[in-house]
């Protein structure tokens, strides 16, 4: 399997002299203190991707530990009843060990950490899926693990906090700023600057300074590589459209990437519209943001006239981020992918529909992609085949969903 290809698809950026640039986006806007560690990571990654032993070990873990390849599920009832009869194919990243696509990236980065010879890993997490995946890989490889999580998110995703602690990780609630993912990244970067000699930062998405956008993309690229082959085998042709939710953008890049050269396959990213973009309470970075620098890279971000980051809002902790990976910004500007918001209500309606029609409880993050697929079904009609990245499962979201649908009241009591 083409897990970490020698020739990851490289877009013509016009900035080949500057690695980690995607058109005008990406780069490395970080304190000098971190440059040596980023260079080390870049160097080790470059060596690892050409090292058959590293590739074999990663493939072995992805197969025997994670459960890859993940299947494609044909969601016939969802297509019929919820997506205007379009053929909906779900890429089941929710079936991965730990419950989401995040493990794909983390196993690769944990192997890199061991290769570099560091004994401690840190990570940020929003919904907790990346934190759980990192804690899992750290337990597997005997690494010390500290996870930074916004205090607001530790409340929204209490189950995942418990999972991380069961796995032996220390979870640090971050009480600065909006107390969500953005601030967890700030705090993790502060830890890294301080402890960089002993610590590797296992970054969870395709944002951040080079090499993270490239490294994480290459490790997530397997989603699309598998799905492209599976859809061809199942339907005899490529899908008309690929749909994914976009927070930082790792699951979206993961499924998009193998299709970039397939000009007839439309790529659709669905951002978190929160209460609605018009309300200002949302996380639709590409839709409503502007280019700037956040967390070490140039990309679209939600910012005010002074360049101060604007806090994002979403029912989904995993999408509640005012930035986005630089490659998405470039895919947007180049027109190769399209991005639009899905608000909380539409996402939760898609969540409910998938539960009822397919017996699958999706993550609220992934429900944004499902809501997007419903729109695409309406636009493209019943002859269309739409591949949806079901990036995670919704076990962690049962509490939020039960309250949303009035199954439990705010105190957690089940309503008769």
């Amino acid at each position: 399997m083409d897990t970490m290809p020698d020739h990851g698809h490289v877009l013509a950026t016009g900035h080949e002299d500057r690695p980690g640039r995607f058109g005008p986006y990406g780069g490395r806007y970080v304190p000098e203190a971190l440059i040596a560690a980023l260079d080390e990571l870049d160097r080790e990654y470059t060596a690892a991707r050409h090292d058959p032993a590293f590739q074999a070990e990663l493939t072995h873990l992805l197969t025997t530990y994670t459960g890859r390849p993940t299947p494609i599920t044909e969601a016939a009832r969802f297509g019929e009843q919820a997506a205007h009869g379009a053929r909906i194919l779900l890429k089941r990243e929710d079936l991965n060990h730990t419950g989401s696509h995040k493990i794909n990236n983390v196993l690769g980065q944990a192997l890199l950490t061991r290769r570099i010879g560091k004994q401690r890993v840190i990570a940020e997490t929003g919904a907790g899926q990346h934190g759980v995946a990192t804690a899992t890989a750290a337990a597997l490889m005997g690494l010390e693990c500290v996870i930074y999580m916004g205090e607001e998110d530790t409340r929204r995703q209490a189950l995942n906090v418990a999972r991380m602690e069961l796995l032996g990780a220390t979870v640090v609630p971050v009480k600065t700023g909006s107390r969500t993912l953005k601030d967890a990244i700030n705090e993790a970067l502060r830890d890294w600057v301080t402890n960089v000699a002993t610590t590797n930062y296992v970054f969870g998405t395709v944002a951040g300074p080079h090499p993270f956008p490239t490294l994480v993309r290459d490790l997530q690229r397997i989603i699309g590589v598998e799905a492209r082959q599976q859809v061809l085998e199942l339907t005899g042709r490529l899908p008309d459209a690929v749909a994914a939710c976009v927070g930082g953008g790792s699951n979206a890049i993961g499924i998009f990437h193998a299709f970039i050269d397939d000009a007839d396959v439309a790529l659709h990213g669905f951002e978190a519209g929160g209460d609605g973009v018009a309300t200002g309470r949302h996380a639709a970075t590409i839709t409503a943001g502007s280019p700037g620098v956040l967390h070490g890279a140039r990309s679209y971000l939600l910012q005010d006239d002074m360049g101060q980051t604007i806090e994002s809002h979403s029912i989904s902790a995993g999408l509640d981020y005012p930035g986005v990976g630089p490659e998405h910004s470039w895919l947007k500007d180049s027109g190769r992918a399209a991005y639009e918001p899905v608000d909380d209500a539409d996402a939760m309606e898609a969540f409910r529909l998938l539960c009822r029609t397919e017996g699958i409880i999706p993550a609220i993050e992934s429900s944004h992609a499902l809501a997007g697929a419903r729109r695409l079904g309406e636009r493209l009609g019943p002859d269309a085949t739409i591949l949806v990245n079901l990036s995670g499962r919704g076990d962690k979201d049962v509490d939020t969903a039960a309250k949303w649908f009035g199954i439990m009241d705010e105190s957690g009591e089940v309503q008769a």
Binding site: G27, R28, Y29, V30, P31, E32, A33, L34, I35, A36, A37, T176, G177, K182, N186, L189, R190, V193, T194, N195, V196, A197, G292, V293, L294, H295, G296, Q303, D305, M306, G307, Q308, T309
Partner: protein
């Protein structure tokens, strides 16, 4: 006055220069002007005016809380320029300390123009290395501003040489691997880093991060051209019962530290 003149003056007196930081807008815009000018009157040679930013990733809790308050009070980039103008009217040169995005948003060329017009001496860019972006150096050069970049204990010799070649005014050496905030000990790495830095440049080298006491200032002044103090000043403002007491406490610390850089 330029930073070069301030460093030369200190050198002529056989001592290191004292550099003091406070963010603009805390406890208010006028309050920060009062504290910074009091700092100069009490013996600070060069002033760093912090431009408040929402995501200050190499600042510890003390500076974070003052900056958060400044932003909540609505401090703008224009306010920062007003603070610079007021400080520049004193004897001491004023440099801005700013993360990159607020400057990028203002426009590198526009910011350089307006900072120069306000009498500012230059900019320290903690999250912008010289190789990260093409816009800042030409803009700063056009308006005669100092470009102060950071070197760190983890910097390779090649990167130190690249960084000092892009610096003008002085070089900022971070004493330890870490974020801003007072420390019991300034790392052993600092002296070695200053030595490695001086091997590449004739520019003055100032040491910052973690310096809070006169004794630490004396220790660093033995091998560096400048001593930077930030969080300890901010702490005085945060702990003060009222703004006037904050200004007095800042002046008292400045006088202590000024004696420290003169001790040998």
């Amino acid at each position: 006055m330029t930073t070069s003149v301030a460093f030369e003056k200190a050198r002529a007196e056989g001592r290191a220069a004292l550099v003091g930081y406070l963010p603009a807008g805390y406890p208010s815009v006028d309050g920060s002007i009062a504290a910074l000018t009091a700092m100069v009157a009490a013996g600070v040679d060069i002033v760093e005016v912090g431009l408040p930013y929402s995501d200050p990733l190499i600042d510890g809790p003390v500076i974070q809380s003052a900056v958060d308050a400044a932003l909540r009070a609505g401090t703008t980039t224009t306010d920062v320029l007003r603070v610079v103008e007021a400080v520049a009217a004193t004897e001491a040169p004023a440099v801005v300390m700013s993360y990159w995005n607020p400057l990028d948003r203002y426009g590198a060329a526009a910011f350089a123009r307006d900072l120069a017009a306000a009498g500012g001496a230059g900019v320290i860019t903690p999250d912008l290395t010289p190789d990260a972006d093409d816009t800042w150096l030409p803009a700063a050069r056009e308006h005669g501003l100092d470009t102060v970049f950071l070197v760190a204990p983890s910097s390779t010799p090649e990167r130190i040489a690249m960084t000092t070649a892009a610096c003008r005014g002085f070089v900022y050496a971070t004493s330890v691997m870490g974020v801003t905030g007072t420390r019991e000990q300034v790392g052993d790495a600092a002296a070695g880093l200053v030595e490695r830095t001086k091997a590449t440049t004739d520019l003055p080298v100032a040491v910052g991060l973690g310096v809070s006491t006169a004794a630490q200032a004396t220790e660093i002044a033995a091998y560096a051209d400048g001593v930077v103090v930030g969080s300890a000043f901010v702490r005085r403002l945060l702990d003060a019962a009222d703004p006037a007491a904050g200004v007095a406490a800042v002046a008292e610390l400045a006088a202590d530290l000024a004696a420290g850089v003169r001790e040998r």
